[in-house]
């Protein structure tokens, strides 16, 4: 799904500098999901499937509104339902549209070993390039949101593209277009942050929801999808949204210092045996002076 119209600023598994490294468009794109006005209609799920050319897959039933437990390689957008019990014992249905968060500091891209299989465009969208994907699944280990999914038929990874094809043509993502309540918004990161903060303030001041706030986790450098939550202190209640997501330190170490320690160790080994040969050379075989002559 290469979008030539979009400039790339980060490339996975890429040796040497990236041509567009560090460039940022003046405007980072962002999706705002207001969970307080989501009614769980799943119109966004349908729009996502329709635009991206996927058909409905078999759903599961577990005595709730939940269609399936998590997103799939051909189902990138899923409402997570949670029958949440408030402290006073009353019930509350929490609904959150789950999809790729388009992290500013993407763990999938950091973990990916294939040159160009994951890119981050200058507008902030993180996109998989299936023609370069080798299907190793390292991105699964790097993602704190459990988003990349494996297609066992094509041996490639898939996830939400933030409709990079639509965005590059100046359109909003398909899910945004379909939302009947207006709980989904799309625009620049600054605008969305501003809108989200104003909505959270409104919830706190006018609706008495003192815990309302905006979810834009700094651990991954902020995200290209932000949420307004009734209770920003308990994001886990919204279908397992991590409280403080970050790239696992094992992945950071593996892709950072471990590379250089390992490469240095291998180089040390090769140089070491070479120096040994230069210094000591091959072992001599001692021919015995006479047959059965004790110590040769």
């Amino acid at each position: 799904m290469t979008q030539t119209a979009l400039q790339i600023r980060r490339i996975s598994g890429h040796p040497g500098p990236v041509p567009g490294e560090g460039v940022e468009r003046a405007e980072q794109v962002c999706k705002l999901v207001d969970t307080t006005t989501c009614i769980g209609c799943k119109a966004c799920e349908v729009a996502c499937l329709e635009w991206n050319g996927y058909t409905f897959t078999e759903t599961t039933f577990d005595n709730s509104y939940q269609t399936m437990p998590e997103t799939a390689w051909n189902y990138w957008n899923l409402i997570k339902f949670n029958e949440h019990e408030r402290e006073d014992g009353t019930m509350m249905l929490l609904m959150r549209k789950d999809q790729c968060m388009h992290c500013a500091d993407p763990g999938c891209l950091a973990a990916c070993p294939a040159d160009g299989a994951i890119v981050q465009y200058a507008n902030g969208i993180v996109d998989f390039q299936q023609e370069h994907c080798i299907g190793c699944g390292y991105c699964v280990s790097g993602c704190p949101f459990n988003i990349p999914k494996f297609n066992s038929a094509t041996k490639k990874m898939f996830k939400c593209t933030l409709c990079s094809d639509r965005v590059s043509e100046g359109l909003e993502p398909a899910c945004i277009k379909s939302c009947p309540t207006g709980c989904l918004h799309f625009g620049t990161k600054d605008d969305m942050k501003d809108l989200a903060e104003r909505r959270a303030t409104q919830l706190r001041e006018n609706y008495g929801i003192s815990t309302a706030g905006v979810y834009d986790p700094p651990g991954v450098g902020g995200t290209g999808v932000i949420y307004v939550l009734h209770d920003v202190n308990n994001p886990e209640a919204y279908g397992g949204l991590p409280k403080d997501p970050h790239i696992p330190w094992v992945v950071k170490f593996w892709k950072g210092p471990a590379k250089w320690i390992g490469n240095f160790a291998m180089l040390f080994g090769v140089v070491g045996v070479t120096l040994h040969y230069l210094r000591y050379g091959p072992k001599e075989v001692h021919e015995p002076k006479k047959e059965n002559g004790g110590q040769p």
Binding site: A258, H276, Y277, E284
Partner: protein
């Protein structure tokens, strides 16, 4: 050390200038099978390890092909290692001679072989390498299975698998560098012994005197 299991081969001449069978055909076949499988995993593994070595994947058909075959060749390597374990595990137990030899390892490194205590069929260094590869392949197999089905395992196991796979792979690479160097450049005659199976009696007497004495002097039944 008991004589009964020191030698897998029985064909010997023991005459000066003659040859001694060091590795049977089946031993050589499994050594080279293991080498072939390991080499594939090494090339593809290095490609996945560093972007600067990703081009290595092109040597074996490209990234997706390398990713597809890497675990299968890993299973092949495991199978050949299993066979090598079956053939050699008794020979690879640490002996009294090994402990004496280990104390004098400085002389071995400096090619001062006259001052080394005599060794059996395998010296302590070879045994060490054998066990590094055996334990290495066990760890690589377990962690590799996790990475093969990475979506099906919990996050902590994914991260543990990555760590173990990388660490075990680096340990075996370290062993391999020394093994290849010693088998080809440092100990002349070693390479042809694992190809054609035979060494000269002088070679056997120099490098593995206890083994040499056993295969040349002790007839079957004479302990």
């Amino acid at each position: 050390m008991s004589a009964s299991h020191v030698v897998s081969s029985t064909r010997t001449t023991g005459e000066p200038g003659g040859n001694v069978l060091r590795y049977t055909l089946i031993e050589r076949v499994h050594h080279w099978l293991g080498f072939f499988f390991y080499l594939y995993c090494l090339i593809t593994g290095l490609a996945f390890w560093s972007p600067y070595m990703f081009w290595l994947a092109a040597l074996v058909g490209g990234g997706p092909t390398a990713r597809f075959w890497h675990p299968w060749f890993g299973l092949g390597f495991t199978a050949s290692m299993l066979w090598m374990y079956r053939m050699w595990w008794r020979d690879m137990q640490t002996t009294e001679a090994d402990l004496r030899w280990r104390k004098a390892i400085k002389h071995y490194i400096e090619n001062d072989d006259q001052n080394l205590p005599p060794e059996g069929r395998f010296n302590y260094g070879q045994k060490l390498y054998f066990w590094v590869m055996i334990y290495g392949v066990i760890l690589l197999l377990i962690s590799g299975t996790g990475l093969w089905f990475v979506e099906s395992i919990p996050e902590w196991l994914r991260l543990l698998s990555v760590t173990v796979h990388v660490t075990a792979a680096l340990a075996t690479i370290g062993g391999l560098i020394i093994h290849v160097y010693m088998g080809t450049a440092m100990v002349r005659g070693g390479f042809s012994s694992i190809v054609r199976g035979e060494v000269t009696t002088a070679w056997a007497r120099t490098h593995h005197r206890l083994w040499y004495e056993q295969v040349t002097k002790s007839a079957p039944g004479k302990k």
